[in-house]
């Protein structure tokens, strides 16, 4: 018996060389298949990130080779009023538009999840603004915000309100951008909607048995069950919010009086209008670190409020 199984094992192991060969072939195939990505990551991602950090430590104006400058760019950054202004503008924008967008798209998703007639039609309506190309949509809002002939002030005039100058007003330009951004809630809504439809109905039945109404269902089932999706939308919203560029460029050019000078816009101006590539790289790295730290903080605190099925750490 023992010898029989031994010979059997030997019989199996004699097939090992071709098996190994097959494995090696598969491994080589694997590397070949992912080769485009490896090249792409090195050439267009990791290489540029390293180069960008190096540039940030130099004086670099494209036409001449970079000159080593140590931390001079970063020191200058700390004393650059425009950089702080840009950081302030971007932070205010993110701090208002991200939570506002999260709440609004959640509410719209709750609405879209109601079983009423023709809901498919309404879902399309709410998603439609997301299909307008960014620049086309931005042009449309530029026209809507036109203080004299635009739709918004036209409407306000009809109900007896003298509308502000919107994009031409130092006070209203940033709120205008936030309003415009809210027009795109349909994208996040769709993600929420998928989450809402994935909540098991027996959870709701349990609340109903306990005598809970719609409000109790929302707070004890819907919101806790949706926290992973809220978290996902939050991270996406933050990363996108810190990188806003095209909208202020097209609508205001950063003005009036720097009231819509976003960080990436300021970065662009330094790099491509003034050819201060070294300084612009320092701005890029500063923003990168800010996004990174914020994301890490959010991930760290996510344990406290994001609910995952079968998560044992969660009490």
């Amino acid at each position: 018996m023992a010898t029989a199984s031994k010979t059997l094992v030997q019989g199996l192991t004699t097939t090992k060389p071709p098996f190994l060969n097959h494995r090696r072939r598969e491994a080589i195939g694997g590397y070949l298949f992912i080769l485009p990505w490896i090249i792409g990551v090195v050439v267009f991602l990791l290489g540029p990130i390293a180069a960008s950090f190096y540039f940030s430590l130099t004086n670099y104006q494209v036409v001449k080779a970079p000159e080593w400058a140590g931390l001079a760019n970063y020191r200058r950054l700390l004393n650059d009023d425009l950089f702080w202004q840009a950081l302030k503008v971007t932070t205010i924008y993110v701090a208002i538009s991200v939570p506002l967008g999260l709440v609004l798209s959640f509410l719209v998703a709750l609405l879209m999840n109601q079983r009423v007639k023709g809901i498919g039609f309404w879902r399309t309506i709410f998603y439609l603004p997301n299909l307008i190309p960014l620049v086309a949509g931005t042009m449309l809002w530029l026209w809507m915000f036109n203080p004299q002939f635009g739709l918004i002030n036209g409407f306000l005039a009809r109900i007896g309100i003298d509308g502000p100058l919107w994009l031409q007003s130092q006070q209203w330009a940033l709120p205008s951008l936030i309003i415009m951004n809210l027009w795109g809630v349909g994208g996040a809504t769709l993600i929420y909607l998928a989450g809402l439809q994935g909540i098991p109905t027996d959870l709701y039945d349990a609340v109903a048995v306990d005598g809970g109404g719609a409000w109790a269902k929302l707070w004890t089932i819907t919101i806790p069950q949706m926290t992973p999706v809220i978290f996902y939308n939050l991270v996406l919203g933050l990363i996108a919010g810190f990188q806003v560029f095209a909208q202020p460029l097209i609508l205001t050019g950063g003005g009036p009086r720097y009231s819509t000078l976003f960080v990436v816009l300021y970065l662009y101006q330094n790099a491509f209008a003034n050819f201060r590539m070294g300084y612009a790289s320092a701005i890029a790295w500063a923003l990168f670190l800010i996004i990174l730290v914020l994301t890490l903080i959010i991930f760290k605190f996510s344990n406290a409020w994001v609910y995952y099925e079968g998560d044992t750490r969660k009490r």
Binding site: R25, E26, G29, G30, Y31, I34, P36, W37, I39, G40, V41, V43, F44, G47, P48, I49, A51, S52, V108, L111, Q114, R115, V116, I119, W122, R123, I125, F126, L128, N130, L131, P133, V135, A136, G137, M139, L140, W141, W143, M144, Q148, F149, R158, G187, I191, A194, Q197, Y232, N233, I239, Q243, F245, A246, I250, V264, L267, A280, A284, W285, I291
Partner: protein, 289 residues
């Protein structure tokens, strides 16, 4: 997405339905109007005469309706050229992203090799890297290659990996496919390449469709890349062409709106043709198009 609505057998059921859900309809109409108003305004403005554009109070229905705005766009700026440029860039970049993402995803999903999982973690991490960090060195690189003011910077990177999110999406899809056919084909002596082309890809049309749609939209709508890399007007893609109206002495809103509508049409058509893929894709990637 399920949209089950019980059919009403008796009028009283319908009344009860509306009695219970009247507030939903009210909110839908209210919010829906808010969302649609800008789009209607876009269409309306695109059909107005220059005089009607500056009429107060603003009019919803253009009078007279001026269809010729749409043809005038082509006379005022090289819009046909822009259309062609956008088509070339979008087609080649989308093709590159779909093909290379499929390759890479297949490698990660169906083949075993040392370091695979570690490399996949790297791939996931790259999603978090903001584009502006790589912008300047990439620009310098393309400048050294003498690629500025050409389509190459907009197309070539798409052929190298095709974006971490798309790879991730395809990998998840490929992993769910059964390995039985693979194994059977291997026993019959099929090569890895034959398995990829003959077995995995034909089963993955829905996932490839999602990637193709989002890649198409991303490149069609892309402003930043063309804005950084293209200088001459005859190379402009459509989003850059739209900006030409801004630099004229006074903005011709009726033409700008007509051009914007035309830029948006392929995206809207694509949505209605491929609605199902669309919703899957948005949900999976969180991309907003």
């Amino acid at each position: 997405m399920r949209t089950t609505v019980d059919t009403y057998r008796r009028p009283s059921d319908a009344r009860r339905h509306f009695g219970q859900f009247w507030w939903v309809y009210l909110l839908l109409i209210l919010f829906g109007t808010l969302m649609m108003a800008p789009l209607f305004w876009l269409l309306s403005s695109s059909l107005k005469t220059e005089g009607a554009i500056f009429r107060l109070p603003p009019e919803w229905i253009p009078n007279p309706i001026r269809w010729s705005n749409y043809s005038e766009v082509f006379d005022r700026i090289p819009f046909a050229r822009g259309w062609w440029n956008s088509t070339v860039v979008t087609t080649l970049a989308t093709l590159g992203q779909v093909i290379s993402a499929a390759f890479v995803a297949f490698g990660f999903a169906r083949l075993r090799f040392p370091g695979r999982d570690a490399l996949f973690l790297v791939l996931i991490a790259t999603v978090m890297i903001p584009y502006h960090v790589t912008l300047i060195p990439t620009y310098v690189l393309f400048r050294e290659l003498d690629w500025l003011d050409s389509f190459l910077p907009l197309i070539v990177p798409a052929w190298f990996g095709g974006g971490a999110l798309y790879i991730f999406l395809l990998r998840q899809f490929f992993m769910r496919l059964s390995f039985e056919l693979d194994d059977a084909a291997r026993v019959d002596g099929a090569s890895i390449w034959q398995i990829f082309i003959g077995i995995v890809l034909p089963q993955s049309k829905p996932a490839l469709g999602v990637v193709a749609i989002f890649s198409f939209l991303a490149h069609w709508n892309d402003f930043f890349g063309p804005f950084i890399y293209l200088n001459s007007t005859d190379k402009y893609t459509l989003p850059l062409m739209l900006r030409l109206f801004q630099s004229l002495e006074s903005t011709e809103w009726h033409l700008l709106m007509a051009a914007s509508v035309m830029t948006a049409i392929p995206c809207i058509v694509l949505y209605f043709v491929a609605q199902r893929y669309f919703i899957q894709g948005v949900v999976f990637t969180g991309l907003k198009g």
